[in-house]
Amino acid sequence: MAHPDYLTDLASTVFENLESQHDWTLLESHTHKQSSLPESSKTLLPRPLLTGLPPKRLYLHPDDQVELVKTHATYTVDETPEMEWVVPMHLNEQFTLKQLAEVFDSLEMPEPLAEGRCKRLLMAIVHDDSTVVYYFVHDGIVKPRQN
Amino acid sequence: MAYDDEDPTATPPPAIARDDSSTVEIEDVEDAEADEAVSDFRKFASSLPGAANGGGGGGGALKNKKAAPHVSGKTVRRGEKDFESHGTRLQENALETSRTAMHDVLSYTRTRVPDNYMTGWYFPDHWAQEAGEDEKPEGLWRRDRVVALEAEKGQMTKSMGRVLRGAPKNMPGWDKAWLLPEEALYLVERGDLLLRWPRGSIEDIFPPPEEVDGLKREVARGEDGDYELGLPLSLQAAYSLFIGHEGDRGKVTLEKFQVYSQLRRAGYLVSRASPLLDPPPPSDTQTLWQRLFSLISSPKSDTPKSHPAMGPLVKPGLHRSYESVYHQLSLIPRHKPTPNPNTPAPEGPFTVAYHVFKSRPGFTKTNLPAPDFRIAVVNARTTDVPDLAEMEALLDSTPWDPPNARSGAGGPGIGHMYQRLKHGWRNVIVAVNDNGMVSYLEFMETAFGEEKLFERFDAKPRQGGKKSSGRNQRAGVVVVEAAGAVEAVGGKGGFLHPHLLLVHLRHPR
């Protein structure tokens, strides 16, 4: 079992974009759910996914923003980057809530989520001219960041 | 720098001469509510006269016409809002104060001193019976007129209510001004109209001339005095009587009423759209502007040429003018507005509902001027974005209004191009109503094909100007490569993308 070629190609486009344009490191492609099973019997992910480490932290929950403001005299963003899940998609694609839910349900988080927090992923949307735009998608009702 | 005369910034931006200040006002109303910034009732409450007396209820009589406050929404500053609840008492108190102020302001009951209001009687079927089905097409909406005014008073009736001439003089109420449902409801909301439900027939309220001694009225009076003639109705009752579905006789849809009242509050005069108010389309198919245009443009340039299937798009060789090149390049048929389109009349929601007039001295409802705006009203919940056919039908139902000096969109020439494009050949406003929130969108029939930018490339160089030295000295164009000139790019529109290399040659003098 494997993904169709266009999904694999899409993933490599985004891989290169993250690596070359956005200086991500530790990039990895994922096609199957992580498990100790032999390669042949692993479950195929709904879509190919990527993981990687951005050069600096991409997302800070608004509650953490507030916490930072409270604890530090001056507002300094925590620069420690976090690993992000990335789902490559093409602008001409359509998706359903069900498919989005399946992608989230296939994500394994390295450590358990903090209380009141939910999974997030970075949706990489590729256009024909190879422009890539990135949107965070949260698996739940997450208030916007304050700027 | 070969192409910098194509840079639109090279041309000084034309001064916008079109008088669209009123459109801007409409947008201001919207902007005022656009953000989620809900008005600060505390400040509003304190800005109302009589606020010192505690506002509501009985104090209302003081707010009669003379004391009527002229509060502009803009004069009341909005309060600051927060991102989320902090659970602090300060925040709770601020919210509680706002809510209390809102409660107080909205507990007001409409009252007026004697003679400072109008009385209207609800006779929903009067004109339906009298006029029958074959109403004369006079644009007066006879059958929808359901409220008879005892007497016309005040500024409001300058644009509202009509006495329906031609009714037989023995018909009760023949000499009264009759209101449309939206007019009646708006006047009730303002507190200008006491709406009454007659307990008897129309002869009891408006006795025929021979009984005008008023005998019947005296007879009708009993313990409740004048009230026995008919109940004074509430705002709630007025809504139940006047709000209906599209096409209900004697009613108005809520989305239309909300647009009507918002425009009236903003100071516009509004009448139901009547085809009779539109000027007839020009009989001469060529307007002055078109004739002028035809003098300076080559007549052949509008018809696309046929090309060999494999190209070239432009014949290689020496071209003495840009026009001959661009003429060969014109592959896509362009829209050309016409004053007499044969488009079927619009149906459904995308139909002009109201004619809107800027307030002006000398305005009379019996002799309406040409409207300043035409507005269609749609319900956001039940209406999709219009398709091209619906939009074409809607636009073509409005009068021919090409951009020219007369319509305030400037004259010919490149300097006025953006004005012309913005003005369009016809225009209409669509009010989109989502549960009481209204957005106004203006649609124009526009024709980019009428703006032939290349003509100015062939224009004679200006004399003497320092800037023109050199780059405006045109000599010719050589097409060096044009093979495989047209490539269809995927997508719905079949968008054509000509790849063509033009070499701009400069001949030193």
Binding site: L58, Y59, Q94, T96, L97, Y134, Y135, F136, H138, I141, V142, K143, P144, Q146 | V29, E33, E36, D40, F44, G58, A61, L62, K63, N64, A68, V71, S72, G73, K74, V76, K81, D82, E84, L95, R99, M102, H103, V105, L106, Y108, R110, V113, Y186, R190, D224, D226, L231, L233, S234, L235, Q236, A237, Y239, S240, I243, H245, R265, D434, N435, G436
Partner: protein, 278 residues
């Protein structure tokens, strides 16, 4: 307001598929207790030449009417039919209604008289009279019959009391397909407003919009409905510009998932979308 004594149900007036509430006490009750504020759609009689501050009635979204009916705190009456019928059916309720009208007019009369007296007294003290004189001359103040005054009550009150054995005609509510997402957010305490201005179904506030900025533009979808990625981009991008998240969600259509939840409002899954700024 939080007392457990049963409050009368909120009466929702249905007119041509739109849902209106006229009673200010009901409006404030919904605002305080059911996180429903809705849109004020009436001209404010105290300041009729502006639209920034609007008055009664409020127009409920169909979703709001439905939630309130499901919570058993409101009922919906087809007022296009019921209300005119009650007016036409002259009966004992007329007297009660007219008494309310008379109370309002005589209150207004008295208040006017007091005001005039007070002004007279003030000017008498100051030794100037012109303004007071004009006022008394121009307003035929005191001795008319109360019915010469005009009073338009906001609600029809007693007129709508059903006579014994006659039920108010309960009307159904037609909710749009996005209702599950609405009900879900409502249940979580959010305040929703119509979403037209932000190109969505609902503009979602974390508290009373009098006090708080909204957090989300929300649009409901069916579980298996195709969503164009371009719509997600435009929604997410617009949200960023107005400091909101774009929220999409709908009712889960699956036998296995959320099996333990029978409450429809909880059987909803939602996703928040924000521009990643990269």
């Amino acid at each position: 307001m939080t007392s457990s004594s049963p409050r009368p149900h909120v009466r929702i007036s249905k007119a041509a598929n739109r849902y209106l509430v006229f009673d200010i006490d009901d409006v404030m009750y919904l605002r305080r207790n059911h996180n429903i504020c809705s849109v004020f759609v009436g001209t404010m009689p105290q300041a009729p030449q502006q639209s920034a501050f609007m008055g009664l009635p409020i127009e409920l979204m169909a979703e709001e009417a439905q939630v309130l009916v499901e919570k058993n705190v409101a009922f919906v009456v087809d007022d296009s039919n019921y209300h005119p019928a009650r007016i036409a059916a002259a009966g004992p309720q007329d007297r009660q209604y007219l008494d309310a009208v008379k109370t309002v007019t005589s209150d207004a009369q008295r208040s006017m008289r007091e005001q005039t007296e007070a002004r007279k007294a003030m000017y008498a003290n100051k030794g100037t009279t012109p303004a007071a004189a004009t006022t008394t001359k121009n307003s035929p103040v005191t001795r008319e019959a109360p019915e010469a005054w005009m009073a338009t009550l906001t609600t029809s009150g007693a007129l709508l009391t059903p006579s014994p054995g006659q039920d108010e005609q309960l009307a159904s509510v037609d909710v749009p397909a996005s209702y599950p997402l609405y009900a879900h957010l409502q249940d979580k305490g959010y305040f929703m407003m119509p979403g037209l201005r932000f190109g969505c179904d609902y503009n979602v506030y974390p508290g009373d919009p009098l006090r708080f900025h909204s957090h989300f533009q929300a649009t409901g979808f069916q579980w298996n409905e195709d969503i164009n990625l371009l719509d997600l981009v435009t929604g997410g991008r617009l949200g960023t510009n107005v400091k909101k998240s774009f929220l999409i969600g709908g009712r889960v259509e699956s036998e296995e998932q959320h099996k333990d939840n029978t409450d429809a409002t909880r059987d909803v899954r939602a996703f928040s979308i924000e521009w990643a700024a990269m």
